[in-house]
Symmetry: C2
Subunit: 343 residues, 2 copies
DNA sequence: ATGAAAGCGCTAACAA
DNA sequence: TTGTTAGCGCTTTCAT
């Protein structure tokens, strides 16, 4: 703010061009000169102004991150994964929630159109057409997180929701359950859709019918899980097991079960998806699908950085699905699951 | 990136200065001219380059946020509070963890010294002298979060840890417990120290001795809570109640109690601090201290914005303590606490 | 190996 | 009301 390149140049008795070269290890500078400049810069604790540099180089060393919301460990984990890589690479992270669907476009435009960031990591499960448009005409590289299948022409990192859901439902089937219900996630949400697809396919692949009466809507909130279980278990024909599309709803289901004196897993088995910290503390421990969230963030960031540096082509589609593994608890009916340490 | 102020000026048949004035509502522009410019800008979807503008105005519309870690709902809540206000005020948020104590200085310098941000929100419970130094010579406004008392000459927003701890320990005393133990937080952490102070004072104010054997160290992790309870309850003389300095440790204590067949609250009452979401799900529900975290973030942000706009003097110390209220559960021994809804 | 100078896109002081 | 112009602090050609 105070001392600038001119001042350093003056003190070193050289031109600002030489100072710039010395500081950036860019272009030839006599070792003697370089040392002198470096020493003076050090002495005055001089740091080039990144804004000025940004104007000149069109690089801000900043990565934009837009997430649908800023709640839960889930999103915090993503940010942490990104932050770790950013730190390593000397980049800065600008985060924002998309606030609401209407304004995601606005935020996106501001981030991408304006040179505030060198690249973007975007998570928007319900992806508007408009967003896709911006995506296309944007000059900055961008990687999508948990995007829908129909965006496979972009760069995207996602959890393999389908595979995870398929696996956990097959696990339930392995227990001998025939009537397996599901509390679904929000409509239009791709994660939710994929998990539902995995559920249906697992049933069908095992010659089990997909029964409408065992499927209820939900919206990923604890509350909807609560009422989801209530509804499923108050029918004349009750499911033997329930696949909640995420752990938060499973938590709600646990609460409902407790209130209604329904025993898990004796009266009904429950499994979830996400493996949030909380699921470890439920009793019995929730059987769920572990999703490598921190890794999702860091992988996305690493790839984005490569796109920025040109190490990989930013215009070539690339999709990576991180596979999700089962975490055994007692809620599915397993009795001697590895009693995972809490810490 | 493509179209710039010159282009707009050319198309509108005016000078760039007029375009700038029209767009910023700054300086006189004939209404007719303004409309024309606005319309053209609209047509080409022109947005002034914020980097260039930043170089000129020394404002980036960006707020830096440095937090000790990026984990938990706790920090996510702070970020959310900040993000909400930032959105309202058309500001952007750059977040970073301090990575480690050594590098917090580096990060701080980069944020503050370089003009990357217009102001900073910093949370650093263990505050280095060095950090304080930077704080002082920094030209940009900064607000501290949960800072130590010895930084009362700065602008700071904090949870009233002392008051909260005092209140909850008095609540335990009200139950008739005489031997009240505590699992402390990390040494040197101001939140932890204040909570400990509140604990001690509550005892003394009620003519109860502070007994060393009932006080064990902890570090805010579930693990340390687990072993904390183990240690306290394996002594010949056991406490009747335990105040865990945060909920995560209380969670650990619950686990330990479960493993050791210790009933809460019959064998030992347990209370926590923070009111994390999880505490609602413990059985019995954890009696704890609610801290308005989102509000902490948003209040800090609002104040910082005022400092930036000059609405309040950035050099005048200002400390605000948000008071923390009790949330009743069954873990303290209360039987007919309001059964709070989960949602 | 080094310097001079032209931008980068914008704002703001000064002139007209 | 509008235009001219000098920065803002840096990078990067192009000469030398």
């Amino acid at each position: 703010m105070d001392i600038n390149i001119h001042e350093i140049a003056r003190r070193a008795g050289v031109s600002i061009a030489t100072v710039s070269r010395a500081l950036n290890n860019n272009g030839a500078v006599r070792e003697e000169t370089r040392q002198k400049i470096l020493q003076i810069a050090q002495e005055f604790n001089y740091k080039p102004n990144p804004i000025a540099r940004g104007l000149s180089t069109r690089q801000t060393d900043t990565i934009g991150v837009i997430l649908p919301e800023l709640v839960d460990e889930f999103f915090m984990d993503i940010i942490r994964g990104i932050d770790e890589e950013a730190y390593r690479a000397n980049r800065y992270v600008m985060v924002s929630s998309s606030h609401n669907q209407r304004n995601i476009v606005e935020t996106l435009t501001e981030f991408m159109g304006s040179g505030r960031v060198d690249g973007l990591i975007l998570m928007a499960p319900e992806m508007h057409k408009e967003v896709i448009r911006i995506l296309h005409k944007s000059k900055r590289p961008m990687v999508l997180l948990n995007s829908c299948k129909d965006l496979d022409h972009a760069v995207s990192f996602r959890i393999n929701n389908y595979q995870g859901a398929f696996a956990i439902v097959e696990h339930l089937i392995g227990h001998g359950y025939k009537n397996i219900g599901m509390i679904r996630g929000p409509e239009g949400n791709c994660d939710a859709e994929e998990r539902y697809r995995g559920y249906c396919d697992a049933l069908q692949r095992n010659n089990l019918p997909v029964q409408r009466c065992f499927i209820v809507a939900g919206d990923f909130t604890t509350k909807s899980g609560y009422y989801g279980l209530m509804r499923l278990m108050s029918q004349p024909e009750k499911p033997e097991a329930i696949f909640a599309a995420n752990d938060m709803m499973a938590v709600g289901a646990y609460e409902a079960a407790k209130n209604a004196n329904i025993n898990i897993p004796k009266d009904v088995a429950i499994v979830g998806f996400d493996d949030i910290f909380l699921s470890r503390l439920l009793s019995p421990r929730l059987t769920t699908v572990h999703v490598p969230i921190v890794e999702l963030g860091s992988k996305a960031m690493r790839y984005l950085l490569k796109m920025i540096t040109g190490e990989v082509d930013a215009n070539t589609a690339y999709v990576e699905e991180l596979s999700a593994g089962l975490v055994m608890g007692g809620s599915c009916g397993c009795t001697n699951y590895a009693n995972q340490t809490l810490f």
